[in-house]
């Protein structure tokens, strides 16, 4: 029986792992190879000279990286604070309403990200839903809320909310009620229960949610383009520009590799720590 399971496991994993090897791992290796090529070449048949990485340091591209990471960090922290009470309620307090919330939130995921962000443009712009009605009712308007850094972070918070909410709720549902009750009986305050019991025991969910939000926000592009105008250029935007308008594949590849290294490093670290069997298959 064991031998059969081992064979079947390997066999059944093949379709998806072969597909990912060919269309996920191989392209990343190709990007890595291109990133060390001299500027503006379109084939790998050149002597590697690592000049694109030099350009990354000297041409101020690190600023875009810093903006992306900084805004991703801000969005992740805001999302954590925003989602915790709701995730807690979904896991421990609500009954039927949890299902309503789950369906309601999941449904937004199926609407193209750029339609939703476009909706925010229509809502927040001068003459948009909010400003238009305020002006209509009070006669005083304002200049619109778009095209600055806070609105990009707002966009990130908006788009990645489900990616924080669901892992958090999953994590909180792993906190046994007995542990909280015991702490309460022993005289712990609400704050102490949060710090000593809930946060540590829910940490798998916190780690997965925060990682997802941080990683996805760091590579995001639509928020800064649609909501932020040209307020700041994020790293994914620089990568795109280098590939398309710049026609400089090695530069684009090197910029992409920096992003991949940071994001991939964090993701691999987080995934390696998470016990997937316990998180997904909890309800056995």
């Amino acid at each position: 029986m064991r031998g059969r399971e081992r064979r079947l496991g390997l066999l059944y994993s093949l379709p998806v792992s072969a597909f990912l090897a060919l269309s996920f791992l191989a392209p990343i290796l190709l990007v890595a190879a291109f990133s060390v090529m001299p500027p503006k070449v379109f084939s790998l048949a050149n002597m590697p000279d690592f000049s694109a990485y030099g350009e990354f340091l000297t041409q101020g591209y690190w600023r875009s990286v810093a903006w992306s990471l900084g805004m991703a960090l801000a969005a992740t922290l805001i999302l954590f604070v925003l989602c915790w009470p709701l995730a807690f309620a979904m896991a421990k307090v609500f009954r039927g309403f949890t299902l309503v919330l789950t369906i309601g939130v999941v449904m937004t995921l199926f609407v193209s990200e750029n339609i939703r962000l476009f909706g925010w443009v229509l809502t927040l712009m001068k003459g948009g839903l909010i400003e238009g009605y305020i002006r209509h009712w009070t006669g005083v308007g304002y200049d619109g809320l778009l095209y600055n850094v806070p609105i990009i972070i707002f966009g990130l918070v908006y788009v990645y909310l489900p990616f924080m909410l669901f892992p958090l709720a999953q994590g909180i549902s792993m906190v046994p009620d007995d542990a909280r009750q015991a702490a309460y009986d022993l005289g712990a305050t609400r704050w102490q229960i949060l710090r000593e019991i809930e946060l540590p025991l829910a940490s798998p969910g916190i780690v997965v949610g925060s990682l997802l939000c941080f990683v996805l926000s760091a590579g995001a592009i639509a928020e800064s383009k649609l909501l932020g105008g040209q307020a700041v250029i994020v790293i994914a935007d620089e990568v795109e520009t280098a590939f398309t308008y710049g026609q400089n594949w090695p530069l684009g590849a090197a910029l992409a590799m920096v992003l991949i290294a940071i994001v991939g490093g964090i993701a691999i670290w987080g995934i390696a720590k998470a016990d997937l069997d316990a998180m997904i298959g909890r309800r056995r």
Partner: protein, 267 residues
């Protein structure tokens, strides 16, 4: 857990607030789509459904819908097949490289999609494939096949191994066990994975952006119109796309119930 009445009400209110926050931009798009004016500004003075008529008649929109449908349909089928077998390897069977396989599955989900699209564009160029909607199918699958695997894996974890063993003890071979026991048991998971796959592919923009070549999907076209200046068709086509997802989702959610009542009527 015991919570006070007031705390409970406050939490429900907070939940409703979050939902309102998530749906507010769609409300704006909805209003914009029925505005008669060519240049949108709130409050809307004249309502009309003309733009819907124009959108439905337009050849461009029809081609876009058809192409997006084709991509999403193929992605769904392939994701269901890969996800079904992947989920069994992920959750059900104990084999040597299982932990490594689980991590490989998760990695693409964590990966920035725009960068993935560009990497695939370079890759297709290197192996001499001209980008078209077919390469977009591949790009979507890199992200969606792992998600389908995870969705089915949730079901596969609650799978009782004794059922498969019983089938084998009674003389079923691997294929018969698969057909008679494993597939029917995992079917609800496979269907929800298919629903996820279709809807995620239908709405995906960052992966399509670089991998469709001369073809264009609905979200891509919308994005191009958004950044190049306002067109009154954008909110209209956006709403049509949202409506299509909503209808499909409603069908998917009520399908088990519909099937059950059909079966009852027959018996």
């Amino acid at each position: 857990m015991k919570t006070g009445k007031f705390a409970h009400a406050a939490l429900v209110f907070y939940g409703i607030l979050v939902l309102a926050f998530l749906y507010l931009p769609l409300v704006s798009v909805g209003f914009a789509s029925v505005s008669k004016a060519r240049y949108l500004s709130f409050p809307i003075r004249k309502y009309s459904t003309d733009w819907y008529g124009k959108a439905v008649e337009s050849d461009t929109v029809r081609d876009l819908l058809f192409l997006s449908l084709k991509v999403a349909g193929i992605v769904t089928l392939l994701a269901m097949v890969m996800g079904f077998f992947g989920a069994l390897a992920f959750a059900r069977y104990q084999w040597r490289y299982r932990k490594l396989f689980q991590k490989l599955i998760l990695l693409p989900i964590f990966f920035p999609q725009t960068v993935l699209g560009l990497a695939l564009l370079m890759w297709f160029n290197a192996i001499g494939v001209i980008p078209s909607w077919k390469t977009a199918v591949v790009a979507h699958l890199v992200w969606i096949a792992p998600i389908a695997t995870l969705v089915i894996a949730i079901r596969a974890y609650s799978f009782d191994p004794a059922l498969e063993e019983a089938a084998r003890d009674m003389g079923a071979n691997t294929w018969e066990t698969l057909r008679e026991v494993t597939i029917p048991l995992l079917m609800p998971g496979v269907v929800s994975a298919g629903l996820f796959a279709f809807l995620l592919s239908w709405g995906n923009f960052p992966l399509s952006l670089f991998t469709t070549g001369a073809d264009s999907t609905l979200p891509e076209w919308l994005y191009a119109k958004m950044v190049s200046g306002y067109s009154p068709l954008v909110p209209t086509v956006g709403m049509l796309s949202v409506a299509a997802s909503a209808v499909l989702l409603a069908l998917g959610l009520t399908a088990p119930w519909l099937l059950r009542s059909l079966r009852k009527m027959r018996s």
